[in-house]
């Protein structure tokens, strides 16, 4: 039973602010994913929680203990690294059992626990091999096994699937999630892949430039993005963001009139439309010049330009227009998102 709490946690490297004021509570057994582009502070946050990076300011709590200054080895957390970090001179069994050896667990018990954990991730047949004799997927399983064998309070994952091919990645993320559910261990997972975040997380923490942009469930982030960054980051393809223009006291975007929107007339706004909300209809007022059509299976991604903005629509293959066509398109009024053009904040109008 372990909960984690970040209280106004900051990290600076010389004058560079890597993480600014992270406040987050992670419940026992929860699977939280930090997601964001490179340099957003997600890995630094994870490393601070692990004890591998000093906290410049703020506190980190594990249950009722302040672990802010506690060394990594005393935090009882296990981590899976991006490149797996398996000890090259040890066999798979020795890699998995190393932490238990350090804790003085009797040799017989180590062998038993290693075998049990290895069977759980289906690498029982690899125990005598060296890391250099393993494939990427096998190494990843060994790294996960090394983490679970200790029965730690918290699992930490630092982009553990980024070195795998896409097919293996899909399988592996399902396996990791299933394993975590079975063990019920609190987990913090870092990735730059929003699909990984969406498919695995109980809650997602979206970060950019060292700051938390939004925290919420995958559905919440998808349906109610707090700003243009989250709107564009969550969803594949990302949300279309188009500028609005003001004319005769009314706002207009993508060839569509929105009338007066509160007192926002003076301020420029942006609108957002999910690609999957768009439908092609000849009688629609908005027109799109199709520049590219990508078939992704049963659906197509249709790229084009409308009212000076780049646009992408995700439609069924049969409904896709041809390249070069100029077609009408529409979307439900309640599927329109409004954002402040200056700070990107979501406007609830």
């Amino acid at each position: 039973m372990s909960s984690v709490r970040f209280v106004d946690v900051r990290k600076t490297f010389d004058k560079v602010v890597a993480v600014q004021g992270l406040d987050l509570s992670i419940a026992d057994g929860e699977f939280v994913v930090f997601v964001g582009p490179s340099g957003c502070g997600k890995t630094t946050s994870l490393r601070m929680l692990a004890g591998l990076e000093e906290v410049s300011n703020g506190q980190i709590w594990l249950d009722d203990s302040d672990i802010t200054r506690l060394p990594a080895k005393e935090r009882d957390m296990a981590m899976v690294f991006q490149n797996y970090a398996l000890y090259p001179h040890m066999s798979v069994a020795e890699n998995i059992g190393f932490a238990l050896t350090l804790r003085g667990v009797p040799r017989g018990q180590i062998a038993e626990r290693v075998r049990k954990a290895a069977d759980m991730v289906q690498i029982g047949h690899l125990l005598d091999r060296r890391p250099r004799e393993l494939s990427g997927g096998q190494k990843q399983r060994v790294a996960v096994c090394r983490a679970i064998v200790r029965d730690p309070k918290v699992f930490l994952f630092d982009e553990p699937l980024s070195n795998l091919d896409p097919q293996l990645r899909t399988t592996a993320r399902g396996e990791i999630r299933a394993l975590q559910r079975r063990l019920g261990t609190t987990s913090v997972y870092v990735t730059h892949d929003q699909i990984e975040a969406m498919t695995m997380a109980d809650r997602i923490v979206v970060m950019a430039d060292g700051a938390v942009q939004q925290i919420g469930s995958p559905v919440d982030l998808y349906e109610n993005p707090a700003n243009t960054f989250v709107a564009a980051f969550i969803g594949a393809p990302p949300m279309n963001i188009a500028p609005m223009s003001a004319a005769d006291g009314a706002l207009r975007a993508l060839d569509r009139d929105f009338g007066r929107i509160g007192d926002r007339l003076a301020n420029a706004c942006k609108i957002g439309v999910r690609p999957e909300s768009i439908v092609f209809r000849d009688d629609a007022p908005s027109r799109m010049s199709v520049s590219q059509v990508e078939i992704i299976g049963a659906e197509c991604l249709v790229y084009g330009e409308a009212d000076g903005a780049s646009l992408v629509a995700r439609v069924e293959r049969a409904a896709a227009p041809r390249i070069g066509e100029r077609v009408g398109f529409d979307w439900p009024a309640d599927a329109t998102y409004f954002f402040d053009a200056v700070d990107g904040r979501r406007l609830h109008i």
Binding site: R47, A50, G51, L52, P71, A72, K73, E74, M77, A78, M79, F81, Q82, N83, Y84, A85, L86, Y87, P88, H89, F98, A99, L102, R103, P131, R132, K139, R146, R150, L156
Partner: protein
């Protein structure tokens, strides 16, 4: 890969063969002479016509070579072990930890490499005599324990050691010393083997310092001991001298052969992979 034309290849091989010959020929001459009876020492032929082991018997009868060899082996092993321990600890600290004055301290270590022994031997000699270490193993070992070159090489090697392995070991619950012992050192085997050879040969062949600080069989090394066959008045006893030199060369050769596989691995190593 560079492929040489046949003429250039032949020229290259001849050059390399000549170079190898200049190194091997004197060694062979020493070994051959060590098997020559006294009347053949100055004979024209480089190899013995009536080979004999008498020179080797003389070496052990006329000289306390066994004691000198023991002094050499013991002090060399202790000195090299001490040098490696100190160098590994210093290099690990320089590569792994951030601490005030790290750059300055490392610059001082590098600076120590630039100071010739001839400059420092006198103050060290005076210190040794005041400490009562003259003509002891301690005099041969302690003043040479710090080896800046080894610190530099190991530090550079450790800087390229994957950070994730340190982190993984920390997460597994290892202390810094345990990380060094269980994770880092096993992966430093090739460079440690190479360093062992360099340090061993350097120490084994050392002549000047043992000559200065040893006087009797208590600490005199083999390299100094074999000088006893050199005699300006009655003439050099070349047969036993060559036999002694051959024997004295063997430990260094054995160390080289033992560690050479690791050396080759160092040169073909592509780094540590997790």
């Amino acid at each position: 890969m560079l492929v040489l034309s046949r003429p250039w290849r032949i020229i290259g091989q001849v050059l390399l063969f000549s170079l190898a010959a200049t190194i091997v020929a004197p060694l062979l001459l020493v070994v051959f002479t060590s098997f020559k009876p006294p009347n053949e020492i100055y004979a024209g032929l480089p190899w013995p016509q009536s080979p004999t082991f008498q020179n080797y018997i003389d070496v052990f009868e006329k000289l306390s070579l066994a004691i000198y060899l023991w002094n050499s082996i013991a002090t060399t092993v202790l000195r090299v072990a001490g040098q490696l321990v100190l160098a590994v600890l210093a290099a690990y600290a320089f590569a792994r930890f951030q601490f005030p004055g790290r750059g300055l301290l490392f610059a001082l270590v590098l600076g120590a490499m630039m100071i010739p022994h001839q400059l420092t031997f006198l103050p060290i000699y005076l210190m040794i005599t005041k400490l009562g270490w003259f003509d002891t193993w301690t005099a041969l070992i302690v003043p040479n324990l710090a080896m800046p070159l080894a610190v530099l090489l190991l530090r550079q090697h450790l800087l390229s050691f994957p950070r994730e392995l340190y982190d993984a070991a920390s997460m597994d619950g290892a202390s810094e010393l345990r990380i060094l012992w269980s994770v880092v050192l096993p992966n430093l085997k090739p460079i440690l083997a190479a360093l062992t050879i360099v340090l061993f040969v350097d120490c084994w062949n050392e002549y000047f310092w043992p000559l200065v600080v040893t006087e009797t069989e208590a600490a005199m090394t083999a390299q100094i001991g074999v000088r006893r066959f050199l005699n300006a008045e009655q003439g050099d006893d070349l047969g036993p001298l060559m036999a002694a030199m051959t024997i004295v060369s063997l430990p260094a050769l054995a160390v080289f052969l033992f560690f050479q596989r690791q050396i080759i691995q160092t040169f073909v190593s592509v780094g540590v992979k997790g």
